[in-house]
């Protein structure tokens, strides 16, 4: 089940091994009656929240933390109760009411030396240039505000579930935990990896989760609730936001509205409201709806009297094109960290063992803020289908003259080979038997990987047999996308069902030792749990919490 080591950026203090399978979650459900009818159907907005299954002696809070937003709410509800942002307007001094003053100028210049949108970030994973104190300040204020003005919980004990990216720098994890412990005064915090929460909120046990985040997009393969492989690309929300700003700048200049620099907020507004994504090779859409207006009027740039910018509707699909799909430029200089979204998915699938792949490919879950841009999901899937159709599941993209390829481990080359669809067939035909065989496969690439005969693994076979007996027929071997309610909803479900994660941090021991207090062995708590639950009596409260672990965040 080993997969290729993921390409982790150098800033992680330890290498994250995604090559082995580990239990990510384990736990015991509280012995509440499993038959309590679930009788709510609306969120707290409409005032019939989860009383049906909310445990009455504690407040079950679920927090999802990303680099730009914090979603926070109560377990068992479909929607978070609030979404906090980390923009400059959230970071004024207390008593500074400028943003509510009439005539407050929202057009903000970028500060010296700041990257695009940097002042809207809570953190970035590169902690070398990060002021952790500032991260704490921001997080503290947002969490305090959410707690005091939105949740407004009574003084019952709080149970906290925090959903975090599965790779996060340790100092950030440390700051997050200490701040949340400090504000919520919770006895313990459960940490859930967001890809698993996403899978849970799409009803899946295995999935390939594409999370288009702010700073990077990650494709995480999950098999039976375990993360088994992760691939990342820097093409993410920041890329498309910048592309949108460029487009707007261009249009402003072209329409002689003066060379204004579009602010981050303006670009984001336009991106959220108007951006869309074309289908693959789909230019016919232009003529499709003749009756609909072809241009859109934007109230930009803001001025008195108000001016408008008239932009062709099709232009709003360009940022997505360049940010997520464009593979322009020299393909040989193609950066492994700069993969288009479809290729990112393809690479992640390619790195999976065949039987896992056939399950995951039928369970592609696309999430992240910009995945709501209409057309993106469809496009990613279309392109992925095309890639698979053209290429099959041969990890080698270009054999070139390499006759030694039979000896080399194909996995090592996953990420660094260039895309050259047409040439690889011809070039590889003049080599030895093995290659010829391979090239035959290349000639019939339409065979889906799942049906390519592969080595028989008796154990897996037996497992599959068993699974087939128990589970209803499952969809496998074809590419299919499944909707998710998002990581927060997944966390909300799991917290409401009282499913505990492996990573449960105890307040006392954390405050005493920090992250260093975590047991080094990643799986200690699941093993311990197994041992301890030999019988109901064998479980002593003291021993139960003797050690905790950081799990995949170790």
């Amino acid at each position: 089940m080993a997969t290729a080591a993921s390409s982790t950026p150098d800033y992680f203090t330890r290498k994250v091994s995604t090559g082995r399978i580990r239990p990510t979650l384990s736990g015991i459900q509280n012995a509440s009656s499993p038959h309590t009818p679930f009788n709510r159907s609306l969120s707290s907005f409409y005032n019939s929240p989860s009383s049906g299954f909310r445990n009455d002696d504690e407040n079950n809070v679920v927090i999802e933390l990303g680099s730009r937003f914090m979603r926070i709410g109560m377990a068992g509800e479909a929607l978070p109760r609030c979404i906090m942002s980390f923009g400059p307007d959230d970071h004024h001094r207390v008593g500074d009411y400028r943003q509510w003053m009439p005539g407050y100028n929202t057009r903000r210049k970028r500060k010296r030396g700041e990257e695009w949108g940097q002042d809207h970030e809570l953190w970035r994973n590169d902690v070398r240039e990060l002021d952790l104190g500032l991260v704490e300040d921001k997080l503290e204020r947002a969490a305090r505000k959410a707690d005091g003005e939105v949740l407004m919980l009574d003084d019952r004990k709080k149970r906290l579930t925090v959903i975090l990216a599965s790779v996060i720098a340790r100092p950030l994890l440390s700051v997050t935990l200490s701040t949340l412990f400090n504000i919520f005064q919770a006895p313990s915090i459960t940490i859930l990896p967001s890809p698993i929460a996403c899978a849970a909120s799409s009803g899946l046990r295995s999935a390939l989760v594409l999370d288009i985040g702010w700073a990077e997009s990650t494709a995480t393969a999950i098999y039976e609730y375990r993360e088994i492989c992760q691939r990342r690309s820097v093409r993410a929300a920041r890329t498309i936001s910048e592309a949108m700003a460029e487009l707007l700048d261009e249009e402003c200049t072209a329409q002689a509205k003066g060379p204004i620099e579009v602010s981050f907020e303006e670009a984001e507004e336009v991106l959220t409201r108007l951006a869309w994504c074309k289908g693959n090779g789909d230019d016919r859409r232009e003529d499709e709806s003749q009756d609909a207006p072809q241009t859109i009027l934007l109230p930009l740039p803001p001025s008195e009297p108000s001016t408008t910018l008239e932009i062709n509707f099709s232009r709003f699909s360009e940022p997505a094109e360049t940010a997520f799909f464009g593979e322009n430029g020299d393909i040989s200089s193609y950066d492994a960290h700069d993969l288009s979204l479809s290729r990112l998915l393809y690479n992640a699938l390619l790195a999976l063992p065949v039987d896992v792949r056939k399950v995951c490919m039928a369970r592609i879950v696309i999430t992240g803020g910009v995945s709501n841009i209409p057309g993106i999901k469809a496009r990613v899937i279309e392109e992925l289908k095309l890639l698979v159709k053209c290429r099959g599941w041969d990890p080698i993209r270009n054999y070139g003259k390499a006759t030694k390829r039979a000896n080399s481990n194909p996995r090592e080359r996953n990420d660094n080979t260039a895309v050259r669809l047409e040439s690889n067939v011809t070039e590889s035909s003049d080599t030895d038997d093995g290659t010829a065989e391979e090239s035959n496969e290349l000639h019939q690439p339409a065979v889906a990987a799942a049906f390519v005969p592969q080595e028989q693994d008796p154990i897996l076979e037996r497992l599959a047999e068993r699974a087939a007996k128990q589970a209803p027929p499952t969809v496998e071997g074809r590419i299919r996308a499944v909707e998710t309610l998002g990581a927060w909803a997944g966390g909300s479900l799991m917290a409401a069902l009282r499913i505990k994660g492996v990573v449960e941090v105890e307040r006392e021991s954390f405050l005493q030792h920090g992250l260093a207090g975590a047991s080094k062995e990643k799986e200690v708590s699941s093993k311990a749990a197994q041992r301890q639950s030999l019988g109901p009596g064998a479980r002593s409260a003291g021993a139960e919490r003797a050690s905790w672990t950081l799990g995949i965040w170790a």
């Binding site: 019939s48 009383s51 300040d137 993106i376 209803p472 799991m494 197994q530």
Partner: protein, 602 residues
Amino acid sequence: MAQVFPYTYYSCPCVESSSTKPNAVQSAPQEAAPFLEDEEENTFDPRSPRANFSLYPIEHLLYCTDCHQIRCPRCMVEEVVCWYCPNCLFEVPSSTVRSDGNRCTRNCYNCPICTSILSISSLEKPTEGLTPNDAASDAAKAPGGPYFLSCPFCQWSSLEIGIQFEKHFNLTSQLQKIIRGDTHRLGSVTDLASPRGEEMEGEIQGRASVASVEDTAPLPIQGDTETLFTNLYNFYRAQLSELSDANPYSLSSDYSFASPSSITRLMNLYGSGGRTKKDRPKPIREAAEFSEGQKVSNPLSEKENIDRIRSVGWEGTASVEQRLQQCREDVGFVDELRPLATLLRTKKSKRCKICRQILSRPESKVSTNRYKIKLLALNNIPKITMRSLNAQPAQHPSFPMQATAPGSDEASTLKPLVPTHFLLTITNPLFDSIKVTLATPSTTPGCVKSKVTILCPQFDVGANTDVWDEALSSATDRSSKRQSQMLSAGPDGGSLTGIQAEAGKVWERGRNWTSIVVEVAPGSLPDSIGHVTLGDDAQGDGGAALDEDEDVLEIPIFVRLEYETEAGGDDGGAAHARKEDAGKEKREEAFWAVLGVGRIAG
């Protein structure tokens, strides 16, 4: 910043003991922290991004009389005393908050477009505009017929999204029914349809045609999200209970795999080997269809949305803020926004985080603003104010806080490189006289370096005794000589060369206040021609244009107080207090303050 000049901010000392310090594994670059390490004593940098989080106007601060320290919201813990709706002012019991959530369950709704309070009107007599609760109270007068919510500001109406009410009270339950009915409709449609392929497409088209009919509410998204979530929850729940039914004694017969609903079992495929099939509990399966919470993506709905954006344009799409308000990021269009029940508010009591002393406790009645306890910093910490010496106060000097007319642009615009004198006044709220020591870095931190000199950094401020004492005694130390000098300087006098503020001398003194002179030579902005005093960091960046508010002159001042007071009886937590004989006790307090003086002219 962006406050009316001059202003004073106080820095709560709790940042220094912030919790990240001990746990921070990696060393963060220190120059970003508000305390610069360059001098032997740390200097507070009001420019640092962190400073915004530790500076407060004094009105926002409380004071712990046990710890003898300022307490900011960060170093207080809050407890909810009561919940109430800010619109109808009804108190909501905690049990209701628990069961019904954090929003008003009466008839208070906010506009989804502009967030103002919606009013309820009758379709029969559309002119009648009543607030929901008025309508509820005098039901007899209210007109009949279907009602709707409308916004008095932006003219939004619930009719736009197809919501109308039969009764003008109990809107919440009616709205629930409307939404639930909608959910049911969608749910049943989807239940029948297989979630795959053509049938799905057919369903989407069917829904679109339903939505186009005028009288049905186009509310698909919320219904979908909620239904999906509910289905999913029920599915998991059923799966988990199936498991526990299958193995009622599993706790003792098997390892944790058998404990009900352990997620270990949810994913038991890779569980420990060596167990026979019989022992192995059945893993829960994945959701298979919409009724179980699984929904296969449909590219058609995305295409539909694209066409919709094209036809509705900018105005028809929901703004970022509106989306965040609804907490639904998948909402795309204005007509998918719904009225939001008004968020409740709370009254809270506040305690010191260190010693748990109650710092403030409001009266629990919603209608009053009174507090049973409120330990204001204002009553315990000297108030520091600053004003230009040029601007003549019209008021009696005994009330120095009311000095200059606030916000007069002229007074707050500073000429670069021209030394200007400011009057710094410290007012003592304590009943003991205090000894004040001020310190400030000679040049202000940041890229515009201004020179600051406190002419008299050490002085006493009298006790806050009875006001009549002052009135009766003529012994205020106000010197008439200086008074006349000030007048002679005139309002136009840019420089004060005529009256020399003497170093080491107090300028003016009152009963419980003392004024001293601070000389400030504002630095010049990097853009201005001639003398450019750029900071090192700015040069590194090529001295680009200034960032927001970098032209504001803010002076960090370290304030240290010493005073003797009656030894408090149970004064346990007095870190700064030293017992002396004769029941007197010496106290020391210290904090940073930031004085916003004005904007430097470019």
